[in-house]
Symmetry: C2
Subunit: 247 residues, 2 copies
Protein backbone atom coordinates (compact mmCIF):
# COMPACT_ATOMS: atom_id res chain seq x y z
CA UNK A 1 0.00 0.00 0.00
CA UNK A 2 1.28 3.41 -1.02
CA UNK A 3 0.66 5.96 1.74
CA UNK A 4 -0.35 9.08 -0.16
CA UNK A 5 -1.06 11.36 2.79
CA UNK A 6 1.28 12.97 5.33
CA UNK A 7 -0.89 12.63 8.41
CA UNK A 8 -3.45 9.93 9.19
CA UNK A 9 -5.81 10.60 12.08
CA UNK A 10 -6.97 7.17 13.09
CA UNK A 11 -9.72 5.89 15.34
CA UNK A 12 -8.58 2.51 16.65
CA UNK A 13 -12.05 1.52 17.93
CA UNK A 14 -12.64 0.18 21.43
CA UNK A 15 -9.04 -0.91 21.94
CA UNK A 16 -8.33 -4.34 20.52
CA UNK A 17 -6.93 -5.45 17.18
CA UNK A 18 -10.14 -7.13 15.99
CA UNK A 19 -12.54 -4.19 16.17
CA UNK A 20 -10.15 -1.92 14.30
CA UNK A 21 -10.89 -1.32 10.62
CA UNK A 22 -8.78 -3.08 8.02
CA UNK A 23 -7.77 0.33 6.61
CA UNK A 24 -6.60 1.58 10.02
CA UNK A 25 -4.65 -1.63 10.63
CA UNK A 26 -2.88 -1.41 7.30
CA UNK A 27 -1.96 2.26 7.65
CA UNK A 28 -0.73 1.74 11.22
CA UNK A 29 1.51 -1.01 9.89
CA UNK A 30 3.12 1.25 7.35
CA UNK A 31 3.56 4.71 8.83
CA UNK A 32 6.94 5.93 10.11
CA UNK A 33 5.63 7.30 13.41
CA UNK A 34 2.65 6.58 15.65
CA UNK A 35 1.60 9.34 18.05
CA UNK A 36 -0.91 8.70 20.83
CA UNK A 37 -1.96 8.58 24.44
CA UNK A 38 0.18 5.93 26.08
CA UNK A 39 -2.74 3.65 27.02
CA UNK A 40 -3.99 3.60 23.42
CA UNK A 41 -0.51 2.85 22.10
CA UNK A 42 -0.53 -0.07 24.54
CA UNK A 43 -3.76 -1.38 22.95
CA UNK A 44 -2.13 -1.74 19.53
CA UNK A 45 1.40 -2.64 20.61
CA UNK A 46 1.33 -6.05 18.90
CA UNK A 47 1.18 -4.49 15.46
CA UNK A 48 3.98 -1.98 15.99
CA UNK A 49 7.15 -2.84 14.09
CA UNK A 50 10.70 -2.39 15.32
CA UNK A 51 11.38 0.21 12.66
CA UNK A 52 8.45 2.39 13.68
CA UNK A 53 8.94 5.41 15.88
CA UNK A 54 6.54 6.01 18.78
CA UNK A 55 5.58 9.23 20.50
CA UNK A 56 3.29 8.77 23.46
CA UNK A 57 2.26 11.00 26.32
CA UNK A 58 -0.26 11.15 29.17
CA UNK A 59 -3.75 12.46 29.80
CA UNK A 60 -4.49 16.14 29.14
CA UNK A 61 -1.53 16.28 26.75
CA UNK A 62 -3.78 16.20 23.67
CA UNK A 63 -2.58 19.50 22.22
CA UNK A 64 1.06 18.55 22.70
CA UNK A 65 0.49 15.28 20.80
CA UNK A 66 -1.28 17.08 17.99
CA UNK A 67 1.60 19.55 17.71
CA UNK A 68 4.13 16.71 17.63
CA UNK A 69 2.22 14.76 14.98
CA UNK A 70 1.77 17.80 12.74
CA UNK A 71 5.41 18.80 13.19
CA UNK A 72 6.68 15.33 12.22
CA UNK A 73 4.32 15.19 9.22
CA UNK A 74 5.54 18.62 8.07
CA UNK A 75 9.10 17.29 8.28
CA UNK A 76 8.23 14.59 5.78
CA UNK A 77 7.46 11.61 8.00
CA UNK A 78 4.35 9.51 7.44
CA UNK A 79 2.51 9.93 10.73
CA UNK A 80 -0.47 8.24 12.41
CA UNK A 81 -2.15 10.18 15.20
CA UNK A 82 -4.42 7.81 17.10
CA UNK A 83 -7.53 8.14 19.25
CA UNK A 84 -9.51 5.38 20.87
CA UNK A 85 -12.97 4.91 19.38
CA UNK A 86 -13.49 7.30 16.49
CA UNK A 87 -10.98 10.15 16.20
CA UNK A 88 -13.80 12.43 15.07
CA UNK A 89 -15.83 11.99 18.28
CA UNK A 90 -14.25 13.96 21.16
CA UNK A 91 -10.95 12.77 19.64
CA UNK A 92 -7.85 14.07 17.90
CA UNK A 93 -9.35 15.01 14.51
CA UNK A 94 -10.71 18.33 15.76
CA UNK A 95 -7.61 19.77 17.43
CA UNK A 96 -5.46 18.52 14.54
CA UNK A 97 -7.49 20.37 11.90
CA UNK A 98 -7.68 23.44 14.15
CA UNK A 99 -3.92 23.55 14.54
CA UNK A 100 -3.24 22.97 10.84
CA UNK A 101 -5.70 25.67 9.85
CA UNK A 102 -4.60 28.29 12.42
CA UNK A 103 -0.95 27.90 11.51
CA UNK A 104 -1.59 27.47 7.81
CA UNK A 105 0.50 24.28 7.67
CA UNK A 106 0.56 22.60 4.32
CA UNK A 107 0.29 18.87 4.90
CA UNK A 108 -2.22 16.38 3.52
CA UNK A 109 -4.49 14.68 6.02
CA UNK A 110 -6.83 11.71 6.04
CA UNK A 111 -9.20 10.79 8.84
CA UNK A 112 -9.79 7.04 9.18
CA UNK A 113 -13.02 6.43 11.05
CA UNK A 114 -13.24 3.97 13.93
CA UNK A 115 -16.00 2.40 15.99
CA UNK A 116 -16.91 4.87 18.71
CA UNK A 117 -17.85 3.81 22.26
CA UNK A 118 -21.59 4.34 21.71
CA UNK A 119 -21.69 1.71 18.98
CA UNK A 120 -19.21 -0.66 20.65
CA UNK A 121 -21.15 -0.57 23.93
CA UNK A 122 -24.48 -0.96 22.12
CA UNK A 123 -23.21 -4.13 20.42
CA UNK A 124 -22.50 -5.91 23.72
CA UNK A 125 -25.78 -4.72 25.26
CA UNK A 126 -28.02 -6.05 22.47
CA UNK A 127 -29.74 -3.40 20.36
CA UNK A 128 -30.32 -0.32 22.53
CA UNK A 129 -29.34 2.28 19.89
CA UNK A 130 -31.90 1.31 17.26
CA UNK A 131 -33.67 4.66 17.12
CA UNK A 132 -32.76 8.36 17.21
CA UNK A 133 -29.99 8.95 19.72
CA UNK A 134 -27.87 11.63 21.35
CA UNK A 135 -24.24 11.44 22.40
CA UNK A 136 -23.29 13.72 25.31
CA UNK A 137 -20.00 14.04 27.19
CA UNK A 138 -20.47 14.78 30.88
CA UNK A 139 -16.98 16.25 31.18
CA UNK A 140 -17.23 19.95 32.02
CA UNK A 141 -13.49 20.57 31.66
CA UNK A 142 -13.87 22.08 28.17
CA UNK A 143 -17.63 22.76 28.13
CA UNK A 144 -19.69 24.80 30.63
CA UNK A 145 -21.87 22.54 32.78
CA UNK A 146 -24.93 24.70 32.06
CA UNK A 147 -24.63 23.86 28.37
CA UNK A 148 -24.29 20.15 29.07
CA UNK A 149 -27.34 20.30 31.35
CA UNK A 150 -29.36 22.00 28.62
CA UNK A 151 -28.48 19.17 26.24
CA UNK A 152 -29.33 16.49 28.81
CA UNK A 153 -32.72 18.11 29.35
CA UNK A 154 -33.38 18.36 25.61
CA UNK A 155 -32.38 14.73 25.01
CA UNK A 156 -34.49 13.52 27.94
CA UNK A 157 -37.56 15.53 26.91
CA UNK A 158 -37.45 14.57 23.23
CA UNK A 159 -37.08 10.87 24.06
CA UNK A 160 -33.65 10.36 22.51
CA UNK A 161 -31.77 7.21 23.44
CA UNK A 162 -28.78 8.85 25.14
CA UNK A 163 -25.17 7.73 25.38
CA UNK A 164 -23.03 9.38 28.02
CA UNK A 165 -19.27 9.69 27.45
CA UNK A 166 -16.83 10.57 30.26
CA UNK A 167 -19.66 10.05 32.73
CA UNK A 168 -17.77 10.16 36.01
CA UNK A 169 -14.22 10.31 37.36
CA UNK A 170 -12.63 10.34 40.78
CA UNK A 171 -12.72 14.14 40.69
CA UNK A 172 -16.01 14.60 38.85
CA UNK A 173 -18.79 12.78 40.64
CA UNK A 174 -21.79 15.13 40.65
CA UNK A 175 -22.48 15.27 36.89
CA UNK A 176 -23.81 11.74 36.50
CA UNK A 177 -25.97 12.17 39.59
CA UNK A 178 -27.45 15.32 38.11
CA UNK A 179 -27.90 13.69 34.69
CA UNK A 180 -29.83 10.85 36.34
CA UNK A 181 -32.06 13.36 38.11
CA UNK A 182 -32.78 15.21 34.85
CA UNK A 183 -33.70 11.99 33.06
CA UNK A 184 -35.92 10.85 35.94
CA UNK A 185 -37.98 14.04 35.49
CA UNK A 186 -38.82 13.10 31.91
CA UNK A 187 -38.57 9.33 31.68
CA UNK A 188 -39.87 6.36 33.64
CA UNK A 189 -37.72 5.10 36.55
CA UNK A 190 -37.83 1.67 34.85
CA UNK A 191 -36.11 2.96 31.71
CA UNK A 192 -33.38 0.45 30.81
CA UNK A 193 -29.80 1.59 31.31
CA UNK A 194 -26.70 -0.22 30.06
CA UNK A 195 -23.36 0.36 31.71
CA UNK A 196 -20.30 -0.97 29.90
CA UNK A 197 -16.80 -0.68 31.31
CA UNK A 198 -13.68 -1.25 29.21
CA UNK A 199 -15.71 -2.35 26.21
CA UNK A 200 -13.72 -4.65 23.93
CA UNK A 201 -10.75 -4.75 26.31
CA UNK A 202 -9.52 -7.16 28.95
CA UNK A 203 -11.77 -6.97 31.96
CA UNK A 204 -14.84 -5.81 30.03
CA UNK A 205 -17.84 -5.47 32.38
CA UNK A 206 -21.47 -5.25 31.29
CA UNK A 207 -24.32 -4.25 33.57
CA UNK A 208 -27.98 -3.94 32.67
CA UNK A 209 -30.06 -1.91 35.10
CA UNK A 210 -32.73 0.80 35.18
CA UNK A 211 -32.59 4.57 35.44
CA UNK A 212 -33.69 4.66 39.07
CA UNK A 213 -31.38 1.84 40.10
CA UNK A 214 -28.29 2.93 38.15
CA UNK A 215 -25.43 2.54 40.64
CA UNK A 216 -23.41 5.73 40.23
CA UNK A 217 -20.39 4.33 42.04
CA UNK A 218 -19.98 1.61 39.38
CA UNK A 219 -19.34 4.26 36.73
CA UNK A 220 -15.92 5.74 35.96
CA UNK A 221 -13.97 7.23 33.06
CA UNK A 222 -13.62 3.83 31.34
CA UNK A 223 -17.39 3.45 31.29
CA UNK A 224 -20.04 4.22 28.68
CA UNK A 225 -23.65 4.63 29.81
CA UNK A 226 -26.61 4.13 27.46
CA UNK A 227 -30.08 5.26 28.61
CA UNK A 228 -32.95 3.81 26.57
CA UNK A 229 -35.91 5.73 25.13
CA UNK A 230 -39.53 5.30 26.30
CA UNK A 231 -39.94 2.14 24.17
CA UNK A 232 -36.73 0.40 25.19
CA UNK A 233 -37.09 -2.83 27.13
CA UNK A 234 -34.97 -5.51 28.75
CA UNK A 235 -35.32 -9.13 27.68
CA UNK A 236 -33.12 -11.78 29.24
CA UNK A 237 -29.71 -10.19 29.28
CA UNK A 238 -30.26 -7.76 26.38
CA UNK A 239 -31.49 -4.19 25.99
CA UNK A 240 -33.72 -3.78 22.93
CA UNK A 241 -35.16 -0.61 21.42
CA UNK A 242 -37.84 -1.41 18.84
CA UNK A 243 -37.40 0.29 15.48
CA UNK A 244 -41.08 -0.01 14.72
CA UNK A 245 -41.19 -3.13 12.53
CA UNK A 246 -44.18 -5.47 12.91
CA UNK A 247 -42.61 -8.63 14.27
CA UNK B 1 -11.01 -18.98 14.13
CA UNK B 2 -13.63 -21.04 15.89
CA UNK B 3 -17.09 -19.55 15.44
CA UNK B 4 -18.74 -20.04 18.82
CA UNK B 5 -22.05 -18.30 18.13
CA UNK B 6 -25.00 -19.33 15.92
CA UNK B 7 -25.90 -15.91 14.56
CA UNK B 8 -23.60 -12.95 13.93
CA UNK B 9 -25.27 -9.60 13.31
CA UNK B 10 -22.63 -7.63 11.48
CA UNK B 11 -22.26 -3.98 10.54
CA UNK B 12 -20.13 -3.89 7.40
CA UNK B 13 -19.42 -0.14 7.68
CA UNK B 14 -19.87 2.26 4.76
CA UNK B 15 -19.68 -0.46 2.12
CA UNK B 16 -16.11 -1.28 1.16
CA UNK B 17 -13.73 -3.96 2.36
CA UNK B 18 -11.28 -1.50 3.99
CA UNK B 19 -13.58 0.24 6.43
CA UNK B 20 -14.96 -3.05 7.73
CA UNK B 21 -13.59 -4.27 11.06
CA UNK B 22 -11.10 -7.11 11.09
CA UNK B 23 -13.49 -9.13 13.26
CA UNK B 24 -16.37 -8.67 10.81
CA UNK B 25 -14.16 -9.61 7.88
CA UNK B 26 -12.96 -12.78 9.53
CA UNK B 27 -16.42 -13.91 10.62
CA UNK B 28 -17.87 -13.19 7.17
CA UNK B 29 -15.16 -15.37 5.71
CA UNK B 30 -16.08 -18.29 7.89
CA UNK B 31 -19.86 -18.46 8.27
CA UNK B 32 -21.97 -20.92 6.29
CA UNK B 33 -24.59 -18.39 5.19
CA UNK B 34 -24.65 -14.62 4.65
CA UNK B 35 -28.05 -12.93 4.76
CA UNK B 36 -28.51 -9.33 3.64
CA UNK B 37 -30.03 -6.67 1.46
CA UNK B 38 -28.81 -7.37 -2.06
CA UNK B 39 -26.91 -4.07 -2.43
CA UNK B 40 -24.94 -4.72 0.77
CA UNK B 41 -24.13 -8.28 -0.32
CA UNK B 42 -22.79 -6.67 -3.51
CA UNK B 43 -20.46 -4.46 -1.40
CA UNK B 44 -18.71 -7.47 0.12
CA UNK B 45 -18.92 -9.89 -2.81
CA UNK B 46 -15.14 -10.17 -3.18
CA UNK B 47 -14.81 -11.91 0.15
CA UNK B 48 -17.61 -14.43 -0.37
CA UNK B 49 -16.35 -17.95 -0.94
CA UNK B 50 -17.81 -20.51 -3.34
CA UNK B 51 -18.85 -22.73 -0.49
CA UNK B 52 -20.85 -20.00 1.24
CA UNK B 53 -24.59 -19.78 0.86
CA UNK B 54 -26.20 -16.40 0.22
CA UNK B 55 -29.68 -15.20 0.99
CA UNK B 56 -30.42 -11.70 -0.28
CA UNK B 57 -33.60 -9.73 -0.79
CA UNK B 58 -34.76 -6.21 -1.58
CA UNK B 59 -35.74 -3.06 0.31
CA UNK B 60 -38.50 -3.26 2.93
CA UNK B 61 -37.86 -7.00 3.29
CA UNK B 62 -36.00 -6.53 6.58
CA UNK B 63 -38.29 -8.72 8.67
CA UNK B 64 -38.19 -11.49 6.07
CA UNK B 65 -34.39 -11.47 6.15
CA UNK B 66 -34.32 -11.55 9.94
CA UNK B 67 -36.72 -14.53 9.92
CA UNK B 68 -34.56 -16.35 7.38
CA UNK B 69 -31.33 -15.70 9.31
CA UNK B 70 -32.82 -16.83 12.62
CA UNK B 71 -34.38 -19.90 11.01
CA UNK B 72 -31.07 -20.97 9.43
CA UNK B 73 -29.19 -20.37 12.68
CA UNK B 74 -31.78 -22.45 14.59
CA UNK B 75 -31.20 -25.25 12.06
CA UNK B 76 -27.53 -25.32 13.01
CA UNK B 77 -25.93 -23.18 10.32
CA UNK B 78 -23.42 -20.47 11.22
CA UNK B 79 -25.14 -17.35 9.93
CA UNK B 80 -24.10 -13.73 9.33
CA UNK B 81 -26.92 -11.20 9.05
CA UNK B 82 -25.48 -7.99 7.64
CA UNK B 83 -26.39 -4.30 7.73
CA UNK B 84 -24.51 -1.41 6.17
CA UNK B 85 -22.91 0.90 8.72
CA UNK B 86 -23.53 -0.37 12.23
CA UNK B 87 -26.18 -3.09 12.59
CA UNK B 88 -27.22 -1.51 15.89
CA UNK B 89 -28.15 1.86 14.33
CA UNK B 90 -31.46 1.61 12.41
CA UNK B 91 -30.10 -1.80 11.34
CA UNK B 92 -30.81 -5.49 11.72
CA UNK B 93 -29.78 -5.98 15.37
CA UNK B 94 -33.09 -4.63 16.72
CA UNK B 95 -35.54 -6.72 14.71
CA UNK B 96 -33.34 -9.81 15.15
CA UNK B 97 -33.39 -9.59 18.97
CA UNK B 98 -37.13 -8.76 18.91
CA UNK B 99 -37.89 -11.84 16.84
CA UNK B 100 -35.70 -14.13 18.93
CA UNK B 101 -37.21 -12.86 22.16
CA UNK B 102 -40.87 -12.93 21.01
CA UNK B 103 -40.58 -16.47 19.72
CA UNK B 104 -38.31 -17.65 22.51
CA UNK B 105 -35.79 -19.08 20.06
CA UNK B 106 -32.71 -20.53 21.65
CA UNK B 107 -29.73 -19.50 19.56
CA UNK B 108 -26.59 -17.64 20.59
CA UNK B 109 -26.03 -14.23 19.06
CA UNK B 110 -23.14 -11.78 18.73
CA UNK B 111 -23.41 -8.26 17.40
CA UNK B 112 -20.25 -7.09 15.63
CA UNK B 113 -20.20 -3.29 15.54
CA UNK B 114 -19.44 -1.37 12.36
CA UNK B 115 -18.72 2.23 11.44
CA UNK B 116 -22.05 4.00 11.09
CA UNK B 117 -22.73 6.67 8.45
CA UNK B 118 -22.43 9.56 10.92
CA UNK B 119 -18.81 8.68 11.68
CA UNK B 120 -17.91 7.68 8.12
CA UNK B 121 -19.32 10.93 6.71
CA UNK B 122 -17.66 13.00 9.45
CA UNK B 123 -14.27 11.52 8.54
CA UNK B 124 -14.42 12.74 4.93
CA UNK B 125 -15.78 16.16 5.98
CA UNK B 126 -12.95 16.92 8.45
CA UNK B 127 -14.00 17.04 12.11
CA UNK B 128 -17.64 18.15 12.31
CA UNK B 129 -18.73 15.66 15.00
CA UNK B 130 -16.28 16.75 17.70
CA UNK B 131 -18.87 17.74 20.29
CA UNK B 132 -22.23 16.46 21.57
CA UNK B 133 -24.32 15.20 18.68
CA UNK B 134 -27.72 13.80 17.76
CA UNK B 135 -28.55 11.19 15.13
CA UNK B 136 -32.06 11.46 13.66
CA UNK B 137 -33.68 9.48 10.86
CA UNK B 138 -36.06 11.57 8.76
CA UNK B 139 -37.92 8.50 7.54
CA UNK B 140 -41.50 8.60 8.82
CA UNK B 141 -42.35 5.13 7.58
CA UNK B 142 -41.91 3.55 11.03
CA UNK B 143 -41.98 6.69 13.23
CA UNK B 144 -44.69 9.40 13.39
CA UNK B 145 -43.49 12.65 11.80
CA UNK B 146 -44.59 14.63 14.86
CA UNK B 147 -42.11 12.70 17.00
CA UNK B 148 -39.30 13.26 14.51
CA UNK B 149 -40.13 16.97 14.41
CA UNK B 150 -40.00 17.16 18.19
CA UNK B 151 -36.52 15.64 18.14
CA UNK B 152 -35.35 17.98 15.38
CA UNK B 153 -36.55 20.95 17.40
CA UNK B 154 -34.87 19.69 20.59
CA UNK B 155 -31.57 19.03 18.78
CA UNK B 156 -31.68 22.44 17.09
CA UNK B 157 -32.51 24.33 20.30
CA UNK B 158 -29.90 22.57 22.46
CA UNK B 159 -27.15 23.17 19.89
CA UNK B 160 -26.42 19.53 19.11
CA UNK B 161 -24.41 18.78 15.98
CA UNK B 162 -27.05 16.80 14.10
CA UNK B 163 -26.66 13.95 11.64
CA UNK B 164 -29.67 13.15 9.47
CA UNK B 165 -30.15 9.59 8.20
CA UNK B 166 -32.59 8.71 5.39
CA UNK B 167 -32.96 12.43 4.71
CA UNK B 168 -34.91 12.37 1.46
CA UNK B 169 -36.17 9.93 -1.16
CA UNK B 170 -38.05 10.21 -4.43
CA UNK B 171 -41.28 9.70 -2.48
CA UNK B 172 -40.34 11.60 0.69
CA UNK B 173 -39.27 15.13 -0.15
CA UNK B 174 -40.90 17.38 2.44
CA UNK B 175 -39.13 16.13 5.58
CA UNK B 176 -35.71 17.60 4.81
CA UNK B 177 -37.29 20.90 3.81
CA UNK B 178 -39.10 21.03 7.14
CA UNK B 179 -35.97 19.99 9.05
CA UNK B 180 -34.06 22.85 7.41
CA UNK B 181 -36.80 25.29 8.42
CA UNK B 182 -36.72 24.06 12.04
CA UNK B 183 -32.95 24.45 12.24
CA UNK B 184 -33.06 27.92 10.66
CA UNK B 185 -35.34 29.04 13.52
CA UNK B 186 -32.68 28.17 16.09
CA UNK B 187 -29.35 28.34 14.31
CA UNK B 188 -27.54 30.85 12.08
CA UNK B 189 -28.15 30.58 8.32
CA UNK B 190 -24.35 30.32 7.94
CA UNK B 191 -24.16 27.12 10.03
CA UNK B 192 -21.93 24.69 8.14
CA UNK B 193 -23.62 21.67 6.58
CA UNK B 194 -21.86 18.66 5.10
CA UNK B 195 -23.61 16.47 2.57
CA UNK B 196 -21.98 13.15 1.76
CA UNK B 197 -23.38 10.77 -0.82
CA UNK B 198 -22.29 7.12 -1.09
CA UNK B 199 -19.61 7.58 1.55
CA UNK B 200 -16.78 5.09 1.12
CA UNK B 201 -18.24 3.66 -2.10
CA UNK B 202 -17.60 4.23 -5.79
CA UNK B 203 -18.94 7.61 -6.80
CA UNK B 204 -18.59 9.17 -3.33
CA UNK B 205 -19.63 12.85 -3.43
CA UNK B 206 -18.83 15.43 -0.75
CA UNK B 207 -20.43 18.84 -0.56
CA UNK B 208 -19.76 21.51 2.04
CA UNK B 209 -22.40 24.21 2.25
CA UNK B 210 -24.43 26.18 4.81
CA UNK B 211 -27.83 25.68 6.36
CA UNK B 212 -29.53 28.37 4.30
CA UNK B 213 -27.90 27.26 1.07
CA UNK B 214 -28.30 23.49 1.53
CA UNK B 215 -29.56 22.28 -1.86
CA UNK B 216 -32.39 19.89 -1.01
CA UNK B 217 -32.44 18.36 -4.48
CA UNK B 218 -28.86 17.09 -4.04
CA UNK B 219 -29.95 14.89 -1.15
CA UNK B 220 -31.30 11.36 -1.54
CA UNK B 221 -31.44 8.06 0.34
CA UNK B 222 -27.72 7.41 -0.23
CA UNK B 223 -26.86 10.69 1.47
CA UNK B 224 -25.91 11.61 5.02
CA UNK B 225 -26.34 15.21 6.17
CA UNK B 226 -24.37 16.72 9.07
CA UNK B 227 -25.46 20.10 10.47
CA UNK B 228 -22.82 21.81 12.64
CA UNK B 229 -23.38 23.40 16.06
CA UNK B 230 -23.10 27.15 16.76
CA UNK B 231 -19.28 26.92 16.97
CA UNK B 232 -18.70 24.86 13.83
CA UNK B 233 -16.80 26.57 11.02
CA UNK B 234 -15.56 25.89 7.51
CA UNK B 235 -11.86 26.18 6.71
CA UNK B 236 -10.65 25.41 3.22
CA UNK B 237 -12.48 22.25 2.32
CA UNK B 238 -13.09 21.00 5.85
CA UNK B 239 -15.81 21.36 8.48
CA UNK B 240 -14.40 21.75 11.98
CA UNK B 241 -16.22 21.83 15.32
CA UNK B 242 -13.91 23.01 18.12
CA UNK B 243 -13.80 20.79 21.16
CA UNK B 244 -12.67 23.65 23.36
CA UNK B 245 -8.90 23.10 23.52
CA UNK B 246 -6.67 26.19 23.55
CA UNK B 247 -4.82 25.95 20.27
Amino acid sequence: MQLNKDLYIIGIGPGNLSDISRRAYQVLNEVDVIVGYKKYIECIKELIGEDQQLYSSGMRKEVERVEKAVELAAEGKKVALISSGDAGVYGMAGPAFELIEKNDISITVEVIAGITAANAAAAVLGAPLMHDYAVISLSDILTPWEQIKKRLKAAAEADFITTLYNPRSSKRKTQLKEAKKIFLKHRSPDTPVGIVRSVGRDGEEIMITTLVEMPLEKVDMLTTVIIGNSNTYISDDKIITPRGYKI
